[in-house]
């Protein structure tokens, strides 16, 4: 269906929003039922949330492309694709949090899951907006529940610390973002992203000096969205928050929140402020600047990860590095670019959520997050070791796993861009840095595998799996394999995203 076709009346618009509305209500239901059932059941809320997400997914498959409320709600292929990613991420995060809700969060299970669902709704709204206000609201609806979730272990200093850090830096960057947005509004008089692009261009024709303002707001936006992406140098909250927050929350942060950031970035920078390499339309050639940040992200993420001993922290740096790879795809302003970003996110979803699920499982069992304590696990828990290894190898990008396919797609897009435009030659360097650092990344990922496999000793722990986490692990493995071996349907879908952005 043509994404540009308007949905004519409010009813239809609301119908198009049905998945979001349903999920929002379902989140309230989950909380209510948990309270009503006097928080007796250990698993009820969790399973309810998972069911809710499944239903949302089904509803999603009935929803149509189109827009309503101006451009405030705009269902395009990107929205559809990323909604699937958000729902899956939430599903897997919830699936891997049964351990902590059983032991640690005894009195707030409903709220815990409910907040994850609220955050998911926020992400879904965010992905379905082509307008600054709804984008901002989506972003905040995503983030505020996550502040709470990060600090959810009320008696643990680490959790609180991660909560306050996340909160302060989050609010700080959202203020920066808003400040940038306010100037954009000032220059264009509209919050609709597409009209904003045209208005600013027209304005700039007559009044060159606004370039400085565009420039400032550009940087503010990069900083604000870079925070969500954990893109260096706006990444510093990430390792601390990942380490302190409950592991499933960290997982959700690393995938869901990052994907939300990506969507926001794509919307703001590809729709409202497209960069034109080599033309002098106005000085918003954000390409190279983001390129520096991406390069820094790949270098810093991979290099510092080598030094980590805490696996959650290591995965945090890994996800910082992965943000860099994704941004390489984003910088390829061609038909492969956005598609590769979307596909990368898809592959990354399974691998990273799977890895965090494994970490969560291990943490529930042993209480430890040290890499060294994974020693010898392959003998006592072969399934755990195999699936964790698969996730890590996928993150490295070893074929035929999804991570490789994703990296291939991203670098292919970048090289296509670099070889097509004289002024895009620097992207070669970016690709070079990306590939080189992906070799470094092997070092720390393999380190975990080494601990699990190469030790002569048996691990003192044996993993036991509850059905939910088993599901998550299996989905992760299957997803990683599918994304690597049979990626065609996803790639095709991802291709539509590029098309809908006019590439």
């Amino acid at each position: 269906m043509d994404p540009q076709l308007p949905i004519t009346n409010v009813t239809e618009t609301l119908l198009a929003m049905l998945p979001e509305i349903f999920l929002f209500c379902w989140a309230l239901v989950v909380i209510t039922i948990d309270v009503v059932s006097k928080r007796k059941s250990e698993t009820l809320a969790g399973y309810l949330s998972m069911i809710g997400l499944l239903i949302t997914g089904i509803l999603l498959s009935f929803s149509t492309y189109g827009k309503g409320f101006g451009n405030m709600f705009f269902n395009d292929p990107m929205a559809a694709f990323f909604k699937i990613i958000f729902i899956s991420a939430a599903f897997m995060a919830i699936g891997s949090s049964f351990g902590i809700t059983k032991k640690k969060i005894v009195n707030h299970r409903g709220e815990f899951f409910g907040l994850i669902l609220f955050s998911t709704v926020g992400m879904m709204f965010l992905s379905a907006s082509r307008e600054m206000i709804s984008l901002y609201i989506g972003l905040e609806l995503t983030t505020i529940p996550l502040f709470v979730l990060a600090a959810f272990f009320k008696d643990e200093k680490l959790s609180i610390e991660s909560g306050i850090k996340y909160f302060v830096i989050g609010a700080f960057s959202s203020a920066l973002l808003l400040y940038g947005m306010s100037f954009l509004y000032g220059l264009s008089g509209t919050t609709d992203l597409l009209s904003m692009r045209l208005n600013i261009a027209a304005f700039h024709l007559t009044f060159k000096q606004i370039g400085v303002v565009v420039l400032i707001s550009n940087i503010m936006l990069v900083a604000g969205i870079g925070f969500k992406l954990a893109l260096p140098p706006f990444h510093q909250w990430a390792p601390d928050v990942y380490e302190g927050a409950p592991t499933p929350v960290a997982a959700f942060l690393s995938v869901g929140s990052k994907a939300a950031g990506l969507v926001a970035f794509a919307k703001m920078f590809l729709l409202a402020l497209p960069a034109f390499y080599g033309t002098e339309m106005f000085p918003n050639d954000w390409g190279m600047m983001v390129g520096f940040f991406a390069a820094c992200s790949m270098i810093i993420g991979n290099v510092v990860a080598i030094r980590q001993t805490n696996i959650k922290r290591m995965l945090a740096y890994s996800s910082i590095a992965q943000a860099g790879y994704i941004m390489v795809g984003m910088l390829a302003l061609n038909e492969h670019g956005l598609a590769s970003v979307a596909f990368y996110m898809f592959a990354y979803l399974f691998a990273n959520m799977g890895a965090f699920a494994a970490v969560a499982l291990f943490e529930d069992k042993t209480g430890s997050c040290q890499i060294a304590s994974y020693e010898g696990l392959s003998k006592t828990s072969p399934f755990f070791a195999v699936s964790f290894s698969i996730f890590l190898l996928s993150l490295v990008g070893i074929p035929p796993l999804g991570g490789f396919m994703a990296k291939y797609k991203v670098f292919a897009a970048a090289i296509a861009q670099a070889s097509a435009h004289e002024s895009g030659q620097w992207i070669y360097w970016l690709v070079g840095i990306g590939l080189l650092t992906s070799v470094f990344s092997l070092y720390y990922y393999a380190n975990v595998i080494r601990q699990m496999y190469f030790s002569k000793n048996d691990s003192p722990y044996t993993m036991t799996y509850n059905p939910a986490i088993l599901t998550v692990l299996i989905i992760g493995v299957l997803g990683v394999l599918a994304a690597g071996l049979f990626p065609e349907p996803v790639l095709e879908f991802a291709g539509q995203i590029s098309n809908s952005f006019g590439f």
């Binding site: 035929p400 490789f404 080189l436 080494r450």
Partner: protein
């Protein structure tokens, strides 16, 4: 499904079989794995036979499968095929895999995982030699790293972890260059394609700079695998730390993938760059020959000696590859690949036999084993002689062809220096042989050593027979290669 797909699929089925077996049923796993690996071995034998009689007359790809669309949005296809340079490699892979699996019976712990990884490795190796789509090729190329990493890391020697990660990092480092080159090739071709056969026609139309860049990128990737000096330092560690059977596969098949890929991809695709760089490639080859031999001479560890001798032997391959205009030299490369696979594989097996008994490989600790272990000594003598290029063995034929071909096509002085490798090769092999097998026998220390047993004989005898057969009557192999190599030389001289 054609025969080539089965070559890849059967080991994978074997892997699934092994994984489904309970871990206590060690014999069921071992024998099952060996029996399953016999199937691709026989297939590869039949393939060689069939190719020799039905297809060797022309340079066209035989047994083509596909192109089937795999990932159409990226133009990735499932495309397999075999010609004169891949068929011998498949033969070698099939044979050495089974032999290594038999040699792996000495693995005592985590048997199930070992055999599963091994069969995955076999599938990957087979895939590399038959893939004609770049992406597919890359996937198979990389797929092998993982089982190899585990095989070295879990079952290896004292420094296994270091060796395993070093191997993994090194090869991955090379692969990224290949990936970039593949992508450049893909985006410069019109219409975009990853089909190697089409890209061979496309390569020479690229600009000179781009040809050079792609050539060098591919070269780095493959050179690390070969390994060409100075990219060789992963090899001694990996070889020495890996369990015997894995060393055999490493030396016998994995190193060949580098030279095979050069012949398949690098050389015919960028003839101009090749012409510009051939001298330097030859220089690297000669350095490898001399350097490897000299370093071998200084070794105290038997396995390390054999490992460094690989550097030297693969140096011959590089020298001959530089002489791209000579069919003789390129045939010499193929011969050297096969004979090095057989001989070095056998040497590793032999060293493994000794290590299993003596639990040390320190050359200086042995001496006079000839009087206690006559059969073992005779075999070792044979393989050492084969390694130093004694006539009547395959190593001689290959070295001779390489020298003849390279002498005609390359700088004469360079080849003259390379010939020195023959003496140095003899020197380190004889030094090793003398110190281990000749001289006085230390009865008190090694009186308990037992003669090579039936299973171990089973692993080395086929290699011995093939080494001799190729050495005495190489004509069938040259006939098999002739048409393909003629065509290849034509492509490379464009």
């Amino acid at each position: 499904m054609g025969i080539l797909s089965w070559l890849i699929l059967v080991p994978l089925i074997g892997m699934v079989y092994v994984m489904l077996m309970p871990k206590e049923k060690v014999n069921l796993i071992r024998y099952g794995a060996v029996i399953i690996s016999v199937i691709p071995m026989l297939l590869s034998f039949w393939l060689t036979w069939d190719y020799f009689f039905n297809y060797s007359g022309s340079a066209a790809m035989a047994y083509m499968e596909g192109p089937y669309e795999w990932i159409p949005s990226l133009n990735i296809q499932y495309l397999l095929g075999a010609d004169g340079i891949s068929v011998p490699m498949l033969f070698l892979t099939g044979l050495l895999s089974t032999i290594s699996l038999i040699a792996s019976f000495s693995i005592k712990f985590r048997v199930k995982e070992y055999f599963a990884f091994f069969l995955l490795l076999e599938a990957g190796m087979m895939g590399v030699f038959v893939a004609l789509d770049f992406f597919l090729f890359y996937v198979f190329w990389e797929i092998m790293l993982v089982p190899m990493y585990f095989l070295i890391g879990v079952w290896g020697g004292p420094q296994k972890e270091y060796a395993a990660i070093k191997f993994f990092l090194y090869t991955l480092f090379g692969s990224i260059f290949m990936l970039v080159a593949i992508l450049i090739m893909y985006f410069t071709s019109e219409p975009h394609t990853l089909n190697m056969l089409e890209l061979i026609d496309h390569g020479p139309t690229l600009s000179h700079t781009l040809q050079m860049v792609c050539f060098i990128f591919f070269f780095i990737a493959f050179a690390i695998k070969v390994p060409v000096w100075p990219f060789h330092t992963w090899l001694p560690d990996a070889h020495v730390q890996a369990p015997t059977a894995v060393s055999v596969i490493l030396a016998g098949v994995l190193l060949k993938m580098g030279t095979y890929a050069m012949l398949r991809i690098n050389w015919p695709m960028f003839p101009k760059a090749l012409q510009d760089l051939s001298f330097w490639i030859a220089v690297l080859g000669v350095i490898g020959i001399i350097y490897g031999a000299l370093v071998s001479m200084a070794q105290k560890d038997l396995k390390k000696l054999v490992a460094y001798s690989s550097v030297s032997h693969m140096g011959y391959c590089m020298l001959a590859l530089a002489a791209y205009s000579s069919v003789t030299a390129i045939a010499g490369v193929m011969f050297q690949m096969i004979s090095h696979g057989l001989i070095t594989g056998a040497l590793f097996l032999m060293v493994g036999v000794l290590y299993d008994r003596a639990h040390t490989r320190e050359i200086a600790l042995f001496g006079g084993l000839g009087s206690k272990l006559p059969v073992y000594t005779a075999l070792m003598l044979m393989f050492s002689m084969a390694a130093l290029g004694l006539p009547g063995m395959s190593g001689f034929v290959s070295e001779f062809m390489i020298f003849i071909g390279a002498f005609g096509a390359l700088n004469k002085v360079l080849v003259g220096i390379a010939v020195l490798g023959v003496v140095l090769g003899a020197a380190y092999m004889l030094r090793m042989f003398q110190n281990v097998f000749l001289g006085e026998f230390n009865m008190a220390k090694w009186g308990g050593l037992t003669e090579i047993n039936g299973r171990e004989l089973l692993t080395v005898i086929p290699l011995a027979i093939l080494t001799l057969a190729i050495g005495i009557y190489p004509k069938p192999l040259t006939d098999l290669l002739q048409a393909t190599l003629d065509n290849l030389v034509l492509l490379m001289s464009r």
